[in-house]
Symmetry: C2
Subunit: 250 residues, 2 copies
């Protein structure tokens, strides 16, 4: 998987951060060098990997990005985010020269890793657009709930726009069904409907709703580091295998 | 409850829209005239009440806001949102004259209802700040999960700032524990920790995780309209009673 994967969905709470942290840990288990980029001012991917958020946003600093990259206990490397409101507001305001500067800063870093996962905030604003302009593929986590499907059309439209503007191929790597609760009839209905409408784009691996996944983040670990025998950990290993097959094998 | 309640939390997926729609329906059952304002470009409160989103954002239009307000099957009135990306970007860019114009448009409308509930997007950006500047109180839904507690400090800081800037009293009406799953030990731990740290601000009513709540939104109804005998519907009636007691009784 040489490439950059943006993990994006404007709908909140669908599992973007959970997917970024746990997929990265599963890639690391397979010996794939992996960098997680936290693009969300909430800093959930940063604390979810047990790292302190930065006082200022690294994308706007003078030092090269490499200086902010840290090791994590679970294996992946991390470019942390910052909760600094002023920096978040600046990044949210469109500015072509700033975009170019940020892209140049990233171009020196991205090639050093087999896989780069960018955790996006819950919005279609400028920060997500910057992340999409850096990415080769987009992974869209989806809760097996009603509102989740509504946002998909807007998301696909934005991906089309960013690909056209930055004159590059950008494809939806896959739609990942997350927090699947087999006791809920609604989950089965939504999963069937998503597969009917979006067929081949929906990944075969489905992530179950599992307490271990949620508990892991309160310990600043991936679910693989927290409880490798859990159903959640097994699902992320399967997901890593499916993505390696789809993208890495020549 | 004469007053405006912003339902806000930058963390995504905690139940802001679900709270706005179902609390409004419970107020309507009690004969309280209630307006839901959908401030999120995702338009989930709009579709969750069975209404079509508007092509352009009503806050930016020339006609008075009353002309966009619609009836809903569940009882509350609704000021719909719009998925129009250009309008969302405009609203997300700070502009004091635009803020004043929007506040003037709302001042003519807000007094006509006993209760106004504003459903905010998952961010601390400009749209949420506009909503907070219109509000008397803030209700913060919280999932009984780890990441939910992290964002609270940032949220409180923003409320303090907006109250200072608009020179008005703005208080946190309450923190609402949502999606409580008694089978998860994590839920009990987070609920205990939140009550220990935030004591009196945490509302006594806790909303259980209930499939009926999620299924209702896929039918464009509140849970009270979808299945009045469900545990979810009962919890929102209790919540309405608790808020009436805290704010409406002289
Ligand atoms: N498969 C799962 N099983 C159990 N809990 C999960 C699962 N996936 C996510 N969660 C929990 O659901 C909550 C939302 O997930 P997460 O924060 O990853 O979503 P997000 O899309 O990144 O949210 P935001 O939109 O705020 O960035 C978290 O508390 C997380 O622990
Ligand atoms: N108590 C509950 N029981 C079951 N499902 C719930 C409950 N509360 C919310 N949900 C479901 O969880 C999902 C997230 O809720 P909702 O969309 O209201 O959150 P939100 O905070 O408004 O999200 P966003 O940050 O995207 O605006 C929805 O699919 C909703 O149906
Ligand atoms: Mg996240
Ligand atoms: Mg919402």
């Amino acid at each position: 998987m040489s490439g950059v994967l943006a993990i994006a969905n404007q709908k909140g709470g669908v599992g973007k951060t959970t997917t970024a942290v746990n997929l990265a840990a599963a890639f690391s288990l397979a010996g794939i060098s992996c960098l997680v980029v936290d693009a969300d001012p909430q800093c959930n991917a940063t604390t979810g990997l047990g790292v302190q958020p930065l006082p200022r946003h690294p994308w706007l600093m003078r030092e090269p990005l490499e200086e902010f990259i840290q090791r994590t206990e679970d294996g992946p490397l991390l470019l942390p985010s910052s909760p600094c409101r002023a920096d978040a507001d600046l990044l949210s305001t469109p500015s072509p020269p700033r975009l170019e500067r940020i892209q140049r800063r990233f171009n020196r870093v991205l090639g050093q890793y087999d896989a780069v996962l960018i955790d996006c905030p819950p919005s279609l604003g400028q920060i997500t657009r910057i992340a999409l302009s850096l990415a080769d593929h987009v992974l869209v986590p989806l809760q097996c709930e009603y509102f989740a499907m509504e946002g998909l059309a807007l998301m696909s439209e934005l991906i089309r726009q960013v690909a056209a503007q930055s004159d590059r191929e950008l494809s939806v790597a896959g739609i990942l069904l997350n927090q699947f609760d087999p006791d809920w009839q609604l989950a089965h209905e939504v999963a069937e409907e998503v597969r009917r409408h979006l067929g081949p784009q929906v990944l075969r691996t489905v992530i179950p709703r599992d307490e271990a996944i949620s508990a892991a983040s309160s310990h600043g670990r991936s679910v693989l580091g927290y409880d490798i025998r859990s159903r959640g950990a097994f699902a992320y290993v399967l997901l890593a295998l499916e993505l390696i097959k789809r993208f890495m094998l020549p």
